[in-house]
Symmetry: C2
Subunit: 242 residues, 2 copies
DNA sequence: CAGTGGTCTAGACCACTCT
DNA sequence: GAGTGGTCTAGACCACTGC
């Protein structure tokens, strides 16, 4: 009948879409519980099983967290367990330890054409530019350059960035109501330039992992571009293929 | 009651386990259909919904493929759509194209201590060692060194490797009944040595991506160790974080 | 048309948390 | 004990495939 786009979508997907809209609108904040399954099934006029299937998918995408006996909660980057979700770097030997984040620079600037493209901005629009170091056990391992659309992050300054605990994504959602839900990374091997070499304590020309990350919020709207240079002599980037 | 290990597992997980055992035992081969849901629910004496939930999980782990109106099939590496599932390399510009695999070397040798460790062998056990090049549009991009436990791959030789189409994993399952279902990768940036530089057509010391992959079959048994050196001037390794 | 997987319902009972 | 999510059932109907 309609070979191009499905004119039909099952009920549970429509429910999922409605819940997504409420999440996007901020009806329930990160860390807070959403209404119970029976409550939602009453609100939407469907069976509990249909609500369950919608929530199952959202939980599978890490947007919601189910806790038996307690309820279903909006996923949050502020919880300790979530700290390492987006940092795939592991030490070659031993356990992962909490890194120290050392802020090097914060300023507003005009978006480069590359940053404008990935953040879906017009060339020259204002961005917040952050440069920082991740230090593991006293050794600088990651040099990050972060670009954020300035209008979404009004008031972000060095003091806020220094005061935060854990990953920046917790700060984004607490202070600016922008919750990051997904990211794409592109990884290359590059030679350290003089600047990176000095900051990371390696020879100029030494091989570094270059990780370009674009992070998205609800509705696939890009909200952060981050270029990380990783020292991988004592660490490696870990990935599972399934 | 039992705080250490769950003494109980839900019915659908037990069903899942039984289906997994049949898959491992080769009761149904890759590409073949498994029995229908009603058939399985009769066999196991549970409702169709319980079987569905078991199969849902297996399909979510890419061990089974559902096809509405046709049946549920054992996932296979021999199908065209599966070709790129484990190769995360993309061109910086343009579409992915089918690479040519250029075999450099095949031989039996004793496992190094590193290979023995990841493949869970005793040091010195026999492995098949394969060295090959992946060539995209005439340019060598990936240099792979592959180690396989020799007992599992009796009779693997250059002729078989040259005759195959697509990824080696299709060959493994067709010729040796070993189906790869999961892999772990560890990624570092390294400097090209003289040998790699000459084969990949870069300067000695040029940065390369070094991707160490351990591949597993049913029951988390390791069956392949692969070290790939990737040129990433025209390509990048892509990864999604969710 | 019969057979497959996909959706939806209603209801029962279980496991867990909190008060 | 009340309220939450988790499991299991039985049955109805829909959508897709192939004969």
């Amino acid at each position: 009948m309609n070979p191009v786009s499905p004119t039909f979508s099952p009920l549970y997907r429509q429910i999922k879409e409605l819940v997504l809209q409420s999440l996007d609108a901020g009806e329930w904040k990160p860390g807070e519980p959403i209404p119970s399954e029976v409550e939602l099934s009453a609100r939407f006029g469907v069976s509990q099983g249909t609500v369950r299937k919608a929530i199952d998918e959202l939980a599978g995408e890490n947007l919601l967290v189910r806790r038996q006996g307690k309820g279903t909660f909006v996923a949050s980057h502020s919880e300790p367990v979530t700290q390492f979700r987006f940092l795939r770097l592991h030490p070659n030997e031993g356990e992962r330890e909490q890194p120290e984040s050392r802020l090097l620079e914060v300023r507003r600037q005009r978006a480069s054409s590359e940053v404008a493209r990935v953040l879906d901005l017009k060339a020259g629009e204002s961005v917040v530019y952050v440069r920082r170091l991740l230090v593991f056990g006293g050794t600088p391992i990651v040099l990050d350059e972060i670009s954020l659309p300035a209008p979404l992050f009004k008031g972000l300054d060095a003091q806020m960035l220094n005061a935060h605990e854990g990953s920046y994504y917790g700060l984004y959602e607490r202070q600016f109501g922008t919750r990051m839900i997904r990211a794409e990374e592109r990884i290359r091997a590059v030679a350290a330039d003089a600047e990176a070499a000095s900051v990371l304590g390696v020879e100029k020309g030494a091989p570094l992992l270059c990780v370009d990350r674009t992070a998205y919020t609800y509705g696939d709207r890009p909200v952060e571009f981050r270029r990380g240079l990783y020292r991988t002599d004592q660490h490696h980037y870990r990935n599972s293929l399934v």
